[in-house]
Protein backbone atom coordinates (compact mmCIF):
# COMPACT_ATOMS: atom_id res chain seq x y z
CA UNK A 1 0.00 0.00 0.00
CA UNK A 2 1.31 3.42 -0.98
CA UNK A 3 0.63 6.59 1.02
CA UNK A 4 1.29 10.14 -0.12
CA UNK A 5 1.72 12.93 2.37
CA UNK A 6 1.08 16.36 0.85
CA UNK A 7 2.18 19.13 3.17
CA UNK A 8 2.41 22.86 2.93
CA UNK A 9 1.76 26.09 4.84
CA UNK A 10 -1.79 27.36 5.44
CA UNK A 11 -3.46 28.77 2.35
CA UNK A 12 -0.80 27.34 0.02
CA UNK A 13 -3.34 25.42 -2.04
CA UNK A 14 -3.32 21.83 -0.74
CA UNK A 15 -7.10 21.46 -0.74
CA UNK A 16 -7.41 23.30 -4.05
CA UNK A 17 -4.90 20.91 -5.63
CA UNK A 18 -6.77 17.83 -4.45
CA UNK A 19 -10.08 19.28 -5.61
CA UNK A 20 -8.61 19.96 -9.06
CA UNK A 21 -7.41 16.37 -9.17
CA UNK A 22 -10.86 15.12 -8.15
CA UNK A 23 -12.61 17.33 -10.66
CA UNK A 24 -14.70 19.18 -8.08
CA UNK A 25 -12.84 22.32 -9.05
CA UNK A 26 -11.88 23.44 -12.55
CA UNK A 27 -8.13 23.89 -12.92
CA UNK A 28 -6.85 27.03 -14.66
CA UNK A 29 -4.32 24.97 -16.59
CA UNK A 30 -2.95 21.45 -16.94
CA UNK A 31 -4.56 18.02 -17.13
CA UNK A 32 -5.42 15.27 -14.67
CA UNK A 33 -5.57 11.53 -15.05
CA UNK A 34 -6.50 9.03 -12.32
CA UNK A 35 -6.34 5.30 -13.16
CA UNK A 36 -6.07 6.42 -16.77
CA UNK A 37 -9.38 8.31 -16.58
CA UNK A 38 -10.24 12.01 -16.67
CA UNK A 39 -12.19 12.83 -13.48
CA UNK A 40 -14.37 15.37 -15.29
CA UNK A 41 -15.05 13.41 -18.47
CA UNK A 42 -15.20 9.86 -17.04
CA UNK A 43 -16.61 10.73 -13.65
CA UNK A 44 -19.07 7.86 -13.31
CA UNK A 45 -16.55 5.20 -14.26
CA UNK A 46 -13.69 6.63 -12.21
CA UNK A 47 -15.60 7.01 -8.97
CA UNK A 48 -16.71 3.38 -8.99
CA UNK A 49 -13.10 2.75 -8.01
CA UNK A 50 -12.13 5.83 -6.02
CA UNK A 51 -13.46 6.80 -2.59
CA UNK A 52 -13.17 10.32 -1.23
CA UNK A 53 -13.30 11.77 2.25
CA UNK A 54 -13.63 15.55 2.28
CA UNK A 55 -12.54 17.89 5.06
CA UNK A 56 -16.14 18.77 5.83
CA UNK A 57 -18.68 16.12 6.81
CA UNK A 58 -21.87 16.53 4.77
CA UNK A 59 -25.10 14.73 5.55
CA UNK A 60 -28.87 15.26 5.74
CA UNK A 61 -30.24 16.55 9.02
CA UNK A 62 -31.98 13.58 10.52
CA UNK A 63 -30.08 10.71 9.00
CA UNK A 64 -28.82 7.78 11.04
CA UNK A 65 -25.39 6.17 10.75
CA UNK A 66 -26.64 2.93 9.17
CA UNK A 67 -28.96 4.87 6.84
CA UNK A 68 -26.08 7.02 5.57
CA UNK A 69 -24.03 3.86 4.98
CA UNK A 70 -26.87 2.23 3.03
CA UNK A 71 -27.52 5.42 1.06
CA UNK A 72 -23.85 5.69 0.06
CA UNK A 73 -23.38 1.97 -0.62
CA UNK A 74 -26.27 1.81 -3.08
CA UNK A 75 -24.61 4.42 -5.32
CA UNK A 76 -22.00 1.88 -6.37
CA UNK A 77 -22.35 -1.14 -8.63
CA UNK A 78 -20.52 -3.19 -6.01
CA UNK A 79 -19.84 -1.88 -2.50
CA UNK A 80 -17.98 -3.33 0.47
CA UNK A 81 -19.86 -4.58 3.51
CA UNK A 82 -20.40 -1.44 5.60
CA UNK A 83 -21.21 -3.44 8.75
CA UNK A 84 -17.70 -4.92 8.70
CA UNK A 85 -16.21 -1.45 8.26
CA UNK A 86 -18.31 0.04 11.07
CA UNK A 87 -17.05 -2.71 13.37
CA UNK A 88 -13.47 -2.13 12.25
CA UNK A 89 -13.71 1.57 13.05
CA UNK A 90 -15.46 1.12 16.38
CA UNK A 91 -18.76 2.56 15.20
CA UNK A 92 -20.92 -0.57 15.29
CA UNK A 93 -22.61 0.40 18.58
CA UNK A 94 -23.41 3.82 17.10
CA UNK A 95 -25.08 2.46 13.96
CA UNK A 96 -28.56 3.46 15.13
CA UNK A 97 -27.56 6.93 16.28
CA UNK A 98 -28.18 10.13 14.33
CA UNK A 99 -25.05 11.28 12.49
CA UNK A 100 -25.34 14.74 14.03
CA UNK A 101 -25.10 13.14 17.50
CA UNK A 102 -21.65 11.69 16.86
CA UNK A 103 -18.54 13.37 18.19
CA UNK A 104 -16.17 15.11 15.74
CA UNK A 105 -13.78 12.16 15.71
CA UNK A 106 -16.59 9.65 15.25
CA UNK A 107 -17.96 11.63 12.30
CA UNK A 108 -14.55 11.61 10.62
CA UNK A 109 -14.30 7.85 11.19
CA UNK A 110 -17.75 7.40 9.67
CA UNK A 111 -16.73 9.33 6.59
CA UNK A 112 -13.62 7.20 6.28
CA UNK A 113 -15.94 4.18 6.32
CA UNK A 114 -18.04 5.75 3.55
CA UNK A 115 -14.90 6.44 1.49
CA UNK A 116 -13.76 2.83 1.97
CA UNK A 117 -17.00 1.39 0.58
CA UNK A 118 -15.29 1.32 -2.83
CA UNK A 119 -12.57 -1.02 -1.59
CA UNK A 120 -13.82 -4.54 -2.19
Amino acid sequence: MLTFNHQNANGAGKTTTIECILGTRKADAGSVSILGLDPRKNRKELFEQVGVQFQEASYSDKIKVWELCEETACLYRKAANYEELLRQFGLWEKRGAFVNELSGGQKQRLFIVLALLVVL
Binding site: T24, F47, L75
Partner: protein, 176 residues
Protein backbone atom coordinates in the same frame (compact mmCIF):
# COMPACT_ATOMS: atom_id res chain seq x y z
CA UNK B 1 -42.83 23.63 -4.22
CA UNK B 2 -40.78 21.47 -1.88
CA UNK B 3 -38.87 19.70 -4.65
CA UNK B 4 -36.35 22.49 -5.38
CA UNK B 5 -35.87 23.14 -1.67
CA UNK B 6 -34.54 19.67 -0.84
CA UNK B 7 -31.95 19.60 -3.63
CA UNK B 8 -30.76 23.15 -3.06
CA UNK B 9 -30.49 22.37 0.65
CA UNK B 10 -28.28 19.40 -0.26
CA UNK B 11 -26.21 21.74 -2.40
CA UNK B 12 -25.74 24.19 0.45
CA UNK B 13 -24.86 21.39 2.91
CA UNK B 14 -22.18 20.13 0.48
CA UNK B 15 -24.01 16.82 0.15
CA UNK B 16 -24.03 17.23 -3.64
CA UNK B 17 -20.28 17.85 -3.55
CA UNK B 18 -19.91 14.43 -1.94
CA UNK B 19 -22.22 12.91 -4.58
CA UNK B 20 -20.13 14.43 -7.33
CA UNK B 21 -17.29 12.07 -6.44
CA UNK B 22 -19.51 9.01 -6.64
CA UNK B 23 -21.00 7.39 -9.75
CA UNK B 24 -24.34 9.23 -9.20
CA UNK B 25 -25.86 11.30 -11.98
CA UNK B 26 -28.04 14.44 -11.69
CA UNK B 27 -30.79 12.49 -13.45
CA UNK B 28 -30.88 9.95 -10.61
CA UNK B 29 -30.96 12.62 -7.89
CA UNK B 30 -33.75 14.56 -9.61
CA UNK B 31 -35.68 11.38 -10.44
CA UNK B 32 -35.64 10.34 -6.78
CA UNK B 33 -37.14 13.67 -5.68
CA UNK B 34 -39.71 13.57 -8.47
CA UNK B 35 -40.75 10.05 -7.45
CA UNK B 36 -41.24 11.03 -3.81
CA UNK B 37 -43.37 14.04 -4.67
CA UNK B 38 -45.22 12.06 -7.31
CA UNK B 39 -46.30 9.62 -4.59
CA UNK B 40 -47.53 12.50 -2.40
CA UNK B 41 -49.31 13.97 -5.38
CA UNK B 42 -51.08 10.73 -6.32
CA UNK B 43 -52.11 10.13 -2.71
CA UNK B 44 -53.65 13.58 -2.51
CA UNK B 45 -55.41 12.97 -5.83
CA UNK B 46 -56.99 9.81 -4.41
CA UNK B 47 -57.97 11.66 -1.25
CA UNK B 48 -59.54 14.58 -3.12
CA UNK B 49 -61.43 12.21 -5.41
CA UNK B 50 -62.73 10.13 -2.50
CA UNK B 51 -63.92 13.17 -0.57
CA UNK B 52 -65.39 14.71 -3.72
CA UNK B 53 -67.26 11.61 -4.83
CA UNK B 54 -68.38 10.39 -1.40
CA UNK B 55 -69.45 13.68 0.15
CA UNK B 56 -70.19 15.91 -2.81
CA UNK B 57 -71.35 13.44 -5.42
CA UNK B 58 -68.65 14.45 -7.88
CA UNK B 59 -68.54 12.25 -10.98
CA UNK B 60 -65.99 12.37 -13.80
CA UNK B 61 -67.64 11.36 -17.08
CA UNK B 62 -64.33 11.08 -18.96
CA UNK B 63 -62.16 7.98 -19.14
CA UNK B 64 -60.20 7.22 -15.97
CA UNK B 65 -57.14 6.17 -17.94
CA UNK B 66 -56.96 9.40 -19.93
CA UNK B 67 -57.53 11.48 -16.81
CA UNK B 68 -54.70 9.71 -14.96
CA UNK B 69 -52.39 10.11 -17.95
CA UNK B 70 -53.19 13.84 -18.11
CA UNK B 71 -52.70 14.16 -14.37
CA UNK B 72 -49.28 12.53 -14.66
CA UNK B 73 -48.34 14.85 -17.51
CA UNK B 74 -49.41 18.03 -15.69
CA UNK B 75 -47.70 16.79 -12.53
CA UNK B 76 -44.42 16.08 -14.33
CA UNK B 77 -44.44 19.42 -16.11
CA UNK B 78 -45.09 21.30 -12.85
CA UNK B 79 -42.29 19.28 -11.22
CA UNK B 80 -39.97 20.06 -14.12
CA UNK B 81 -40.15 23.75 -13.21
CA UNK B 82 -39.17 22.80 -9.66
CA UNK B 83 -36.35 20.59 -10.94
CA UNK B 84 -35.00 23.45 -13.00
CA UNK B 85 -34.89 25.68 -9.91
CA UNK B 86 -33.50 22.86 -7.75
CA UNK B 87 -30.82 22.06 -10.27
CA UNK B 88 -29.22 25.50 -10.11
CA UNK B 89 -30.26 27.39 -6.96
CA UNK B 90 -27.23 27.77 -4.63
CA UNK B 91 -29.19 27.36 -1.41
CA UNK B 92 -32.63 26.85 0.07
CA UNK B 93 -33.36 30.56 0.50
CA UNK B 94 -32.79 31.42 -3.16
CA UNK B 95 -34.65 28.28 -4.24
CA UNK B 96 -37.67 29.16 -2.15
CA UNK B 97 -37.78 32.77 -3.42
CA UNK B 98 -37.50 31.75 -7.09
CA UNK B 99 -39.96 28.87 -6.67
CA UNK B 100 -42.46 31.19 -4.95
CA UNK B 101 -42.15 33.77 -7.72
CA UNK B 102 -42.78 31.06 -10.31
CA UNK B 103 -45.49 29.07 -8.53
CA UNK B 104 -47.68 31.56 -6.65
CA UNK B 105 -48.77 33.72 -9.59
CA UNK B 106 -49.56 30.45 -11.39
CA UNK B 107 -51.65 29.20 -8.50
CA UNK B 108 -53.64 32.42 -8.39
CA UNK B 109 -54.12 33.08 -12.10
CA UNK B 110 -54.20 29.63 -13.64
CA UNK B 111 -57.67 28.75 -12.48
CA UNK B 112 -56.44 26.47 -9.71
CA UNK B 113 -57.92 28.82 -7.13
CA UNK B 114 -59.93 31.50 -8.94
CA UNK B 115 -61.95 29.84 -11.74
CA UNK B 116 -60.67 30.72 -15.21
CA UNK B 117 -64.24 31.21 -16.47
CA UNK B 118 -65.03 34.11 -14.14
CA UNK B 119 -61.89 36.09 -15.00
CA UNK B 120 -62.21 39.13 -17.33
CA UNK B 121 -60.95 38.47 -20.88
CA UNK B 122 -57.79 40.53 -20.43
CA UNK B 123 -56.82 38.48 -17.38
CA UNK B 124 -57.61 35.28 -19.26
CA UNK B 125 -55.14 36.22 -22.00
CA UNK B 126 -52.42 36.69 -19.37
CA UNK B 127 -53.40 33.45 -17.67
CA UNK B 128 -53.16 31.56 -20.98
CA UNK B 129 -49.39 32.07 -21.06
CA UNK B 130 -48.93 30.33 -17.72
CA UNK B 131 -48.21 26.59 -18.00
CA UNK B 132 -50.48 25.60 -15.13
CA UNK B 133 -53.45 27.25 -16.86
CA UNK B 134 -52.89 24.97 -19.83
CA UNK B 135 -52.50 22.04 -17.47
CA UNK B 136 -55.84 22.72 -15.85
CA UNK B 137 -57.51 23.04 -19.25
CA UNK B 138 -56.07 19.64 -20.11
CA UNK B 139 -57.39 18.10 -16.90
CA UNK B 140 -60.83 19.62 -17.43
CA UNK B 141 -60.94 18.24 -20.97
CA UNK B 142 -59.85 14.81 -19.75
CA UNK B 143 -62.30 14.69 -16.85
CA UNK B 144 -65.22 15.75 -19.04
CA UNK B 145 -64.27 13.31 -21.79
CA UNK B 146 -63.80 16.01 -24.43
CA UNK B 147 -62.06 15.22 -27.70
CA UNK B 148 -58.37 15.74 -28.45
CA UNK B 149 -58.90 18.86 -30.67
CA UNK B 150 -59.69 20.92 -27.58
CA UNK B 151 -56.72 19.58 -25.69
CA UNK B 152 -53.86 19.57 -28.20
CA UNK B 153 -52.41 22.97 -27.23
CA UNK B 154 -52.23 22.24 -23.47
CA UNK B 155 -50.73 18.84 -24.34
CA UNK B 156 -47.97 20.42 -26.41
CA UNK B 157 -47.27 23.04 -23.71
CA UNK B 158 -46.96 20.35 -21.02
CA UNK B 159 -44.60 18.17 -23.06
CA UNK B 160 -42.50 21.17 -24.14
CA UNK B 161 -42.16 22.26 -20.52
CA UNK B 162 -40.97 18.84 -19.40
CA UNK B 163 -38.37 18.71 -22.16
CA UNK B 164 -37.14 22.29 -21.74
CA UNK B 165 -37.12 22.58 -17.93
CA UNK B 166 -35.95 19.00 -17.42
CA UNK B 167 -33.22 19.56 -19.97
CA UNK B 168 -32.04 22.75 -18.26
CA UNK B 169 -32.06 20.98 -14.88
CA UNK B 170 -29.79 18.19 -16.12
CA UNK B 171 -27.56 20.18 -18.47
CA UNK B 172 -26.86 23.04 -16.03
CA UNK B 173 -26.95 20.96 -12.84
CA UNK B 174 -24.72 22.48 -10.19
CA UNK B 175 -22.99 20.14 -7.75
CA UNK B 176 -21.83 23.10 -5.69
Amino acid sequence: MRLPLVISDYRQKKILKRYKVTPTSPVLLLAVQVSIYAIYSLLSLILVYLVGSLFFGVRLPGSVGIFLASYLLVMLSTFSIGMMVGGVAPNMKVASIVASVLYFPMLIFSGATLPYEVMPTALQRIADILPLTQGIKLLKAASLGLSIDVAWLPLVVMVALIIICGGIAVKFFKWE
